[in-house]
Symmetry: C2
Subunit: 381 residues, 2 copies
Amino acid sequence: MIPFNKPFIIGNELKYIEEAVKSGKISGDGLFTKKCNQFFESRYGFQKVLLTTSCTDALEMAAILCNIKEGDEVIVPSYTFVSSANAFALRGAKIVFVDSEANQPNICVKEIEKHITSKTKVIIPVHYAGVACDMEAIMNLAKAHHLIVVEDAAQAIDSYYTFSNGTRKPLGSIGHMAAFSFHETKNVIAGEGGLLAINDPQYNERAEIIREKGTNRSAFFRGEVNKYGWVDIGSSFLPSELISAFLYAQLEHIDQIQEKRISIWNKYYKGLKGLENSGYIQLPVIPENATNNGHMFYIVCKNYEERTGLINYLKKFDIHPVFHYLSLNKSEFFLSNNASIDIPNSDRYTDCLLRLPFFYELKEEEQTCVINHINEFYLNK
Amino acid sequence: MIPFNKPFIIGNELKYIEEAVKSGKISGDGLFTKKCNQFFESRYGFQKVLLTTSCTDALEMAAILCNIKEGDEVIVPSYTFVSSANAFALRGAKIVFVDSEANQPNICVKEIEKHITSKTKVIIPVHYAGVACDMEAIMNLAKAHHLIVVEDAAQAIDSYYTFSNGTRKPLGSIGHMAAFSFHETKNVIAGEGGLLAINDPQYNERAEIIREKGTNRSAFFRGEVNKYGWVDIGSSFLPSELISAFLYAQLEHIDQIQEKRISIWNKYYKGLKGLENSGYIQLPVIPENATNNGHMFYIVCKNYEERTGLINYLKKFDIHPVFHYLSLNKSEFFLSNNASIDIPNSDRYTDCLLRLPFFYELKEEEQTCVINHINEFYLNK
């Protein structure tokens, strides 16, 4: 059986959990959370990093930091995970869905521009499959219209974007804030987990407060105030040290993980390129100013029926690819408050995109088997 | 050094984490989350249990399930953790603070009654130190005024309440819902973690949706709907299997943990009873219809200065007791939206209550040392 995903232990995960217990602290913000935060700040230059219990929670922190009020508009791609929108809906925002590019699922900048109104407050570029959105254009739009940019970088760890002046920046370091995920399907994992990266220091102080249930506890522990109390709304966004200890052990091997994942990606690309050349399927596109972080490999089939046929064919060999998002503009929740709208590219990815088995421990012969059966499906039709 | 708290490993915590990884699933709602849920449902008869990333998150789920709208009033003791109030403030509730009893920190039922208005929607009894609030009176009030009761049972695992007809029920099984904590300071721990117990089945379906980012994914996996999508607001309240695997290993030893903790509690009580008899301090009160779950041992000093003196005295011997909450009605957040109010018993616990070192691995000789030094402090004054 070749599953879609498989979590893995790569180094000192269990040893570090034991160490955390012995250190006398396994609630949030202990030794390993600090090590993780430092790792991200130093490797990617994020101005401030706050580990969270999930990427969803990081997005919810961002929504509170953006001070979303009833009726504020937030621009989100329709082809994304529900949390990209829900985190802002929770605070009363009106979600404005925008289409993907025709050649890849990332948000279309021209479409963003059309949807900006006087009520627009935030843009959420989602770096699908870890491939950068057109961040230069998005940051320019945001500047012109005084908008906040929150990168949904759930899939985008260790991926980069190059500006037209040649400056290369890690994804998550470009917007005002960014949210990452360590869900078990991601490159580095902790089962569930996330982080909020803050690149604009004006949000630092309130972010610490919001993350600590609305208290100024962090400032208290630094000796900046002489008692701490309830000063704002907030939640418990801190992960257990069990999570950060596990995560830190993975981060120590990030280069090894990335090398392996990129080689898996390249083998898929090479093995399926013939099908794209013959017009059967569409493969992922990596724009020149973006990089490939080996997060995911997907193909785009011609239509829903063909994709269903391929899924069923592969299942016969115990291979388990999975489709991805359903256009959020067609969701029951959106339609209960909004008129129906047409977002064609998002619908096409909803119906036709298929993600192939992809995990650190995927064996070469397993991958060869997946590639061969996909080729068989198309060429023996 | 005798710390206030110390996390511990009691059995298969690390082995189960390894098993979770090998099982192929460490994101939420895997094997160990199900085992934990079943444990709680069968041991305590909660109608439905949903593990969460923290007790704060369980309270936030409850606030969404109560359908809190701007201006709804929620009655909360002033002497409690910020999350008991904040979870409802996040949804726009007006928080109505009520005083504790004079002889113990639990909410005073007579005071609740005085504060019920036509806008009151929810009462939050907090079982301080795991000792039951007067649940019969609270449930009667709720019935008479059509209110929802959400037990804040953060500290109350394995504690019971006896109704006047002789029926004995576990705390957390009496209100419409209840929130528990597995923070490292609790009886059974996972660093950070919690659960929502639902006792009124009308909340079951929506609870599953809210916990899964507002999607009907749980119903999909049970085959009740043929695809899942965004149907409601929600968040990612599921803990990683790393958390539930650790927690389950602790739950397997709950009787052993409880036995040890109750013996620690009894030793403190016996060792400090003389000081209470002589009028120096006040010890915890366990009402006849409540039980002692060995969660916490506190003393109530005469005043703030005396408590500070005692803390400093014990620190000289490297003993680290800690005070607890600050009256929430005096918080910056509350006062920024409300007039100042007087809540005297809560203020007294704020100033005078002191929690003594209390953890599973506390050694007899360490505890003797704490008891002796407290007696010395008062008797040699």
